[in-house]
């Protein structure tokens, strides 16, 4: 049985709802100045991470860029710990020391949360290197945006992964814009997936607004990698509804374009699929949504009442000198 088939689709829909409600609430709390720094929302892209993670094991390695709230939530980090991190609290998933762009969760094999575009792609290759070095059958999933594919680190990393035949899936979440620069204005290729060909890495394209399509494609790739280690590349075509970050009104694209994608909403789509197949009623959906909203609201309360790290403790996090927590 494929790992993906073990995941209940209603549960995965529920996870997509949690991500969306979490991001909406984060947006609101950012505007209320409870959250500082930069804050990049995942709304619209939910099917990508939920689909991909539905296809892998809990002990596979996951690493991503700065639009990372959803990846932590999907990996099993609690909404409480995620919201507390945004609030900069000690109960946050990175103890309030990382913030929105640096979510980490060792226990759940979530390796960040990395904010320099493309710089985490070599790290992902190193994690895949360690898998092969130890003779394990894990796989590394490395998520990044379309903006990363023009960084040198990305190219060096792909070459290394191909050269050493490492078990890694490079998942490009192509949401069409690197900040405000469209793929057309940034990339010399007709399609992003062709980058992989240059490194002799098999590449595919998948519809990122369709949970099932993402899950099945990733399951197929991961299955092949577990049989014999190799890198693979997946261009996932998706769309973010919000601006690049909270401060971006996204004036570089039209309302019509946004509306077109909204009509293809990943949550609406999975809901329709499940409803059509008699696996979900409207009442059940409403209940899932209500539960997601409640979880997120409780997370805000948790974050609000959580303590901040005492200043003198910061010095304990410069060098590691002892037992891990």
């Amino acid at each position: 049985m494929q790992p993906g088939e073990q995941r209940d689709e209603v549960e995965m829909l529920s996870l997509m709802l949690l991500i969306r409600r979490f991001e909406e609430r984060a947006s609101q709390q950012y505007q209320a100045q409870k959250i500082g720094g930069f804050c990049h929302l995942y709304i619209g892209q939910e099917a990508v991470v939920t689909g991909a993670l539905a296809a892998v094991r809990d002990d596979d390695y996951v690493i991503t860029a700065y639009r990372d709230h959803a990846h932590a939530l999907a990996r099993g980090t609690s909404a409480d710990a995620c919201m507390a991190e945004l609030f900069g609290k000690e109960t946050g998933c990175s103890r309030g020391l990382g913030g929105s762009m640096h979510f980490f969760d060792r226990k759940n094999h979530m390796y960040g949360g990395h904010a320099i575009v493309g710089a985490h792609v070599p790290l992902a290759v190193g994690m895949a290197f360690a898998i092969k070095y130890r003779g394990e059958d894990r796989v590394t999933l490395c998520f990044f945006g379309d903006g990363a594919i023009n960084q040198g680190s990305f190219h060096e990393a792909l070459n290394l992964a191909a050269l050493y035949k490492l078990p890694i899936v490079f998942i490009c979440e192509n949401n069409l814009f690197a900040m405000g620069t469209s793929v057309k204005r940034s990339t010399s290729l007709k399609q992003i997936v062709d980058r992989a060909e240059g490194y002799d890495i098999p590449g595919e394209i998948v519809d990122g607004m369709n949970f099932r399509e993402v899950r099945d494609k990733v399951a197929e790739i991961v299955d092949s990698i577990r049989k014999e280690a190799h890198p693979a590349f997946l261009e996932v075509r998706t769309y973010r509804y919000r601006g690049h970050s909270m401060s971006d009104p996204a004036s570089y694209r039209t309302k019509q374009e946004l509306e077109k994608y909204r009509l293809d909403d990943p949550i609406t789509r999975l809901r329709a699929q499940l409803t059509r197949e008699g696996k979900l009623t409207n009442e059940q959906f409403d209940m899932l949504d209500k539960r997601a909203k409640e979880t997120v609201l409780a997370a805000v309360k948790f974050a609000e009442k959580s303590p901040e790290m005492p200043v003198e403790q910061v010095y304990d996090y410069v060098y590691f000198n002892g037992a891990k927590e």
Binding site: Y61, I63, G92, C93, S94, R95, G96, L97, G98, H102, F104, D105, R106, Y111, G112, G113, H114, I116, A119, H120, V121, P122, L123, A124, V125, G126, M127, A128, F129, A130, I131, Y133, G152, S153, E156, A157, N159, L160, L163, Y164, V314, D316, Y317, V318, Y319, F320, N321, K324, E325
Partner: protein
């Protein structure tokens, strides 16, 4: 004790740590089949095989990052830069990823990695290949930086670096690879702690603070000064960060006069930090201003005569010592 070269000492350190811990691997340009651009990894491929001694393409940013990722999941990589001048291509990985990970993850991910290779000006390699990077890296919280000057220190510090749970830069000295020194026998574990300076020569009139390539220079100058009845104490820092300021202070409290001879550039150089700490902590012990001898503040010229002129040298050091001794 036996006499071996700095290069052999490093080679022994690598072999011993590879032997001791299966999580240790060596990766870099030309480290395996070519045996290292400076032959530091001679024989290691034959002994440990291609799984653990790994050649890379010319992709410093890529393989430095690979090492950091592997360290995050429990391996203990030794990443060789053919020279630290090339580490600048990987600056983002060394500065932004390796030292930040522990704090940024709230203490979940430490990065036990060693970056090593030759550092500092060698001989007529010109501006791009002559960087002394110690002051860049020592200014980054989360990194540790050492710069051994003798075969014994090179071996002991490299072994310690590999065992450290944090990113450590071992800045080797290209001009010293063939220099010889007495080192403990191979069956005796040689570990030298980071953050421990070594008084290489005792003296009473002036403290010369040095490290790496400036240590043999300082020792040579001390012998010369002896003939002029100036007794110089030579303090080899060995580690730039953590810095053993106590050994520096103890020496200055004894001699009351200080010259710092460093291989980096003067502006925000290692000596600037040491100067600050001395005047802040033991101002009253000083009988003269502190002087620094460093590279001149110019990119390295290729021309041999000009190169010599912009590097620290014996004449400059003697002049500085005489000035602080009012001799």
């Amino acid at each position: 004790m036996r006499e071996i070269t700095y290069r052999q000492a490093l080679n022994e350190a690598l072999a011993e740590e590879l032997e001791r811990d299966p999580n240790v691997f060596l990766m870099g340009e030309e480290v395996a089949e070519y045996h290292g651009a400076y032959k530091v990894s001679q024989g290691l491929l034959e002994r440990f095989g291609p799984r653990r001694i790994i050649d890379t393409p010319i992709s410093e940013n890529g393989f430095a990052g690979l090492g950091i990722g592997a360290a995050m999941v429990g391996l203990r990589p030794i990443i060789e830069f053919m020279t630290f001048s090339f580490s600048l291509v990987a600056f983002d990985q060394v500065v932004n990823n390796a030292p930040n990970m522990f704090l940024m993850s709230g203490g979940q991910f430490n990065v036990p990695i060693t970056f090593r290779g030759p550092n500092g000006p060698a001989h007529q390699l010109a501006a791009t290949h002559s960087h002394a990077t110690e002051n860049f890296y020592a200014s980054v919280p989360g990194l540790k930086v050492c710069a051994p000057a003798t075969p014994s220190d090179a071996k002991g510090l490299l072994k310690t670096a590999v065992r450290d749970d944090n990113p450590v830069l071992v800045l080797e000295a290209e001009l010293l690879y063939s220099s010889k020194g007495m080192v403990e026998p191979p069956d005796e574990e040689l570990l030298i702690p980071l953050g421990k300076a070594d008084v290489k020569r005792e003296g009473t009139d002036v403290s010369i603070i040095c490290y790496a390539q400036t240590v043999p220079l300082a020792l040579k100058v001390a012998a010369q000064l002896e003939e002029e009845n100036i007794s110089a104490e030579i303090v080899d820092l060995r580690s730039i960060k953590p810095l053993d300021e106590q050994t520096v202070f103890d020496s200055v409290a004894k001699t009351h006069r200080v010259v710092i001879v460093e291989q980096d550039h003067p502006f925000c150089g290692v000596g600037a930090e040491i100067c600050y700490r001395i005047q802040k902590n033991i101002f009253d012990a000083l009988d003269a201003q502190i002087l620094r001898v460093s590279q001149e503040d110019v990119p390295m010229p290729y021309n041999e005569r000009l190169e010599k002129a912009v590097l620290p040298n014996a004449d400059k050091l003697v002049t500085a010592v005489k000035q602080v001794c009012y001799a």
